[in-house]
Amino acid sequence: MEYIAGKYDIVIIGAGHAGCEAALSAARLGCSTVVFTLNIDSVANMPCNPSIGGTAKGHLVREIDALGGQMGKAADATLIQSRMLNKAKGPAVHSLRAQIDRRAYQEEMKKNLEEQKNLDLKQAEVTEVIFDKNKKVIGVKTHTGAVFNCNCAIICSGTYLKSRIIIGEVNYPGGPDGLFPGNELSNCLLKAGIELMRFKTGTPARIHRNSINFSAMEEQKGDEPIVPFSFETEKIEIKQKSCYLTYTNGKTHEVIRANLDRSPLFGGEINGVGPRYCPSIEDKVVRFSDKPRHQIFIEPMGLNTREMYVQGMSSSLPEDIQEKMLKTIKGLERAKTMRTAYAIEYDCINPLQLKSSLEFKNYEGLYSAGQSNGSSGYEEAGAQGLMAGINASRKVMSKKPVALGRAEAYIGVLIDDLVTKGTNEPYRMMTSRSEYRLLLRQDNADMRLTAQGYEIGLISEGRYIEFLNKKEFIKNELQRLKKKIFPPLKVNAFLTKKGANEVKSGISADALLKRPGVSYRELKSIDSDVPECNSVYEEAIEVMCKYEGYLKRQKQQVERFEKNEKKFLSDSIIYSKIGGLRIEARQKLDAVKPCSVGQASRISGVSPSDINVLLIYLEQRRRKRK
């Protein structure tokens, strides 16, 4: 039975981290929106590690927040431990990572969805996307036959499409955390002509807190004070929970090696492509056979649960072997497993089919975001969800799509990599993926993106004004530091106290701060003009002053880089007809349909000489049109 159940501007398929951001942004921008989930109790679930952030991922959360997304705020509200990683390794790679109360996070996010104007949350499996004859999306259909008409649909199906759980010799269709898979939607997409890929990932066991001997492990406490993810969260005062560190040992490895023949990874049961950065424990033991031990982190799943996550022990070995190997580990000798580790295989789309707006090139109004695009991680998903939600809304409102640049945001790097280079494993954000990471710091995410967020419509007037004030304040203070000159006498007393070399002539506050070991806060002791401000401002000022030279250099690189980004390529160019291009380049360009010469140059298989030919071709077109 099929019936018309309603009409929305935007339909979102899936309410995971991508789906939630997409739904909230679309609704907040004024579009009537519905978000479907297989199970309403699993909104914004964290089926793997109970944490948000980490290197590069923490940056993504900051950026989501700077643009007006929800993830940072939800994490702030529900975190139970927080750390700033890489404090000693340079300001651009400072990264926030927080342990999250998984249930609380889900409830927090669900509450946000429920309370959001223009937004409906429904439990149903979307089995079909309905297209008109021009391959434009006109609606979706659920398993109960309800048809919802819509202008745009965003696929945020995560790892649920035709997913299969694998535990040793046992495998069965199933989604993460014992949920049902979505078995129908893949077929519909395939039938419409969309290319799918098969990826694999996995998660370790959860064990009972009371069965762990923590005295045999190293405790890892959180940092004080807690730095929030959101620029709008003032402070977080909680009693933090600890994580614990232990190690595998020779016995563990023995158990694994003796049972490799029962591993589906090595036995050929698993066909999906797994991520290199998320190897299972058996993978680690085989590939790094000379390592005597591997780190295992025990992380709390929340405040109201005794479940603990065993990071570092992702596995698809049979359950009996898993039990054996867990018990070889110091502190886990009597561990009681609550959930067994498993590998999961799932369908995702080949992201090369998408534009930078995350809309399909050949299917108007259809978008895709998150793990269904071949990425991995909650933060990567949230970032894409936000952008897809924004762009779908803009389409509904007949506005131009927004795409962030590689020099603007990690979000820009993430999406550009996916839609330009594609991926052959679940894609994880890493700082090494960004060419301009000194500029893409977590401390300046607001400076980079909040003005855009305001223009898009997700940043409130009040927050925008506060942002402008901050910007102005920092600018003024940086200028003041340049003008302020200290006489040698005053500075030398300060420097001697620090054990640094003295100066002979006067020195500006700016130059003083640039010296190694001098912090902005310390300046106060000799400079009474240093204005009162909070630590976030202080950090921004210090970083911008200290690394001015590096930042300038990187900005110059960006200027060069952006010249080709601004040479736009029309969708109507048929590359196969440009004689001067090499055959491979023609095929790749036709497949990707880059929107700029810059993007074209990043496609693998397109050489610099192809780009030259392309420039000639563009000029030829331009003159012909005259």
Partner: protein, 516 residues
């Protein structure tokens, strides 16, 4: 080889130069880049360019985003004069820093030729030159153009090119002058396809010579150093992206130490370039022939006379010997090979295979045949196999038999007859080699240009690693170090054709055991 300038032939030179200048003779416009003249004479893909006159069209908008490019725009070897050409916004500025003529460069008249000297960083003369300054838009590219006409010969010309690079010009990509001429509206729309073809064919050619170079020892060194940088970067990368993994961390001090070792290796490489040793790795000549035809005799004659021998290097196989020497200023590597014949002996077979492989790799072949053997099947086969390649044919041992049967079979006029054991014919062979080079039928130009380009990238890599070391020492932030190291890896990657990003990530996961 130095051209003595006096007033009279200075004028003559000027006149000669002017007639070569594209601007004054439009139908040669396409041909004056690096290898251009050969393009024209071999009648390949460039038709006569129809050029709109400069004053009828407004200046085009493409000036932004263009670097100042430079290249040697004359084919190698001809006439003792070479031309280094620069085009772009900074052309005049760069020229003013390296050119001394007793006047302010800025005040020199456009489209005039000035005599002076090109000096190095220490203000020492590199060469006496004639410089042609041409202000936009009345130029081939419609940008400011400077042409430095110097004394031909690989070394001097490349010193000047390197000097221009060191002041901020970048190597012109294949076909780039023409590309700019087109983009700036200098060349008619109808020529667009031809311009694309030109870029394509030139790219193929330069890629080939770059690939050949990378197989050599220098190429290997560059690859190894780059790999080392990538290793260090992956170590830093894992420390940053996986801070929780204690075992895999690298301390800043250790990173600085490693960066310093890399710096010293790069420095050594640059030193080698500067003393010209690497430039001498230029032209590969394979000496082929049946066993006992006199190949080794020939090589001994060449080396026995000690014609500027640099080194003897035993080959990687027991039966290929490389001899490096300079032929009137041109760097040459002679490869002595195993005699080619049908054989069942396993080791000899390997040698023969090597010889045949060398045949493909070499820019020029000297085929030495044995007159005493006569025109047997093997000799015929060899001639047939090699005929399509650029070859100097030699029939040796003509004291024992006249060898006319072989000469007849080859069917070419310039076969050299010799008695190499008496050093009879050696000079003739070398002259033939030299004339092939200077006629341009053997391509040394691309190799030499590749060299200058490589040096530029190595210089930049060295500078970047230096900065990384400095950074690491002064404020001890790994992240800032990795920014400069990435630049270094990317500069070397421009030589080896690899990009750093994915390499670093791949190496992280290959070397380190991280992840949940």
């Amino acid at each position: 080889m130095f051209l003595q300038l006096n007033i009279n032939n200075k004028k003559a030179v000027v006149k000669g130069l002017l007639t070569q200048q594209p601007f004054f003779k439009p139908n040669k416009h396409f041909v004056s880049e690096k290898t251009g003249i050969r393009h024209l004479s071999s009648g390949t893909n460039m038709p006569k360019a129809r050029i709109r006159s400069w004053n009828k069209q407004k200046q085009e908008v493409h000036m932004d985003g263009f670097n100042t490019i430079a290249a040697i725009s004359t084919p190698p070897g001809t006439g003792g004069i070479s031309c280094v050409r620069m085009s772009g916004e900074k052309a005049f500025e760069i020229a003013s820093r390296i050119f001394r003529c007793g006047k302010n460069f800025k005040l020199l008249q456009s489209h005039s030729v000035t005599y002076g000297k090109i000096v190095n960083e220490k203000n020492e003369t590199i060469d006496e030159v004639l410089v042609l300054k041409m202000k936009k838009p009345r130029t081939y590219t419609r940008e400011d153009v400077v042409e430095i006409n110097c004394h031909g010969g690989t070394v001097v010309t490349h010193k000047i090119l390197e000097r221009v690079f060191s002041e901020g010009a970048v190597p012109a990509q294949p076909g780039e002058f023409t590309k700019r001429a087109f983009l700036n509206g200098r060349i008619d729309l109808s020529q667009a396809e031809a311009v694309m073809d030109l870029i394509n064919s030139k790219t193929k050619k330069s890629e080939k010579s770059a690939a050949i170079q990378l197989e050599g020892r220098t190429g290997n060194k560059i690859k190894k150093i780059r790999q080392r940088i990538i290793f260090l970067l992956s170590h830093i990368g894992v420390s940053i992206d996986y801070p929780e993994y204690e075992d895999d961390k690298i301390a800043t001090s250790a990173a600085v130490e490693e960066a310093m070792l890399i710096e010293s290796q790069l420095f050594e490489l640059v030193e080698n370039y500067e003393t010209g040793r690497i430039l001498r790795e230029g032209l590969n000549i394979a000496v082929l022939g049946p066993p006992n035809a006199g190949k080794s005799t020939f090589i001994n004659m060449v080396t026995g006379e000690e014609k500027a021998i640099v080194t003897h290097i035993p080959g990687t196989t027991r039966d290929v010997l490389e001899v490096q020497f300079s032929l009137k200023g041109y760097p040459i590597i002679l490869h002595d090979t195993a005699g080619i014949r049908q054989t069942d002996d396993f080791i000899e077979k390997l040698g023969v295979e090597k010889s045949l492989a060398l045949k493909e790799k070499s820019e020029l072949i000297i085929l030495i045949l044995d007159a005493a053997r006569g025109l047997d099947e093997e000799t015929k086969n060899l001639i047939d196999q090699i005929k399509k390649k650029e070859t100097v044919f030699v029939v040796n041992k003509t004291d024992m038999k006249d060898g006319n049967d072989i000469v007849e079979y080859i069917g070419l006029k310039n076969v050299i007859k010799g008695i190499l054991s008496n050093d009879f014919g050696t000079d003739e062979i070398l002259d033939a080699v030299y004339s092939r080079i200077t006629k341009g039928s053997v391509d040394i130009g691309d190799i030499a240009v590749t060299n200058a380009r490589h040096k530029l990238h190595i210089d930049k890599a060295l500078e970047a690693v230096g900065k990384a070391v400095e950074t690491g020492k002064s404020n001890a932030f790994l992240d800032l170090m990795s920014v400069d190291l990435t630049t270094a890896a990317e500069e070397l990657g421009k030589i080896t054709g690899e990009s750093a990003g994915e390499d670093i990530i791949r190496t992280i996961f290959e070397r380190f055991c991280v992840g949940k």
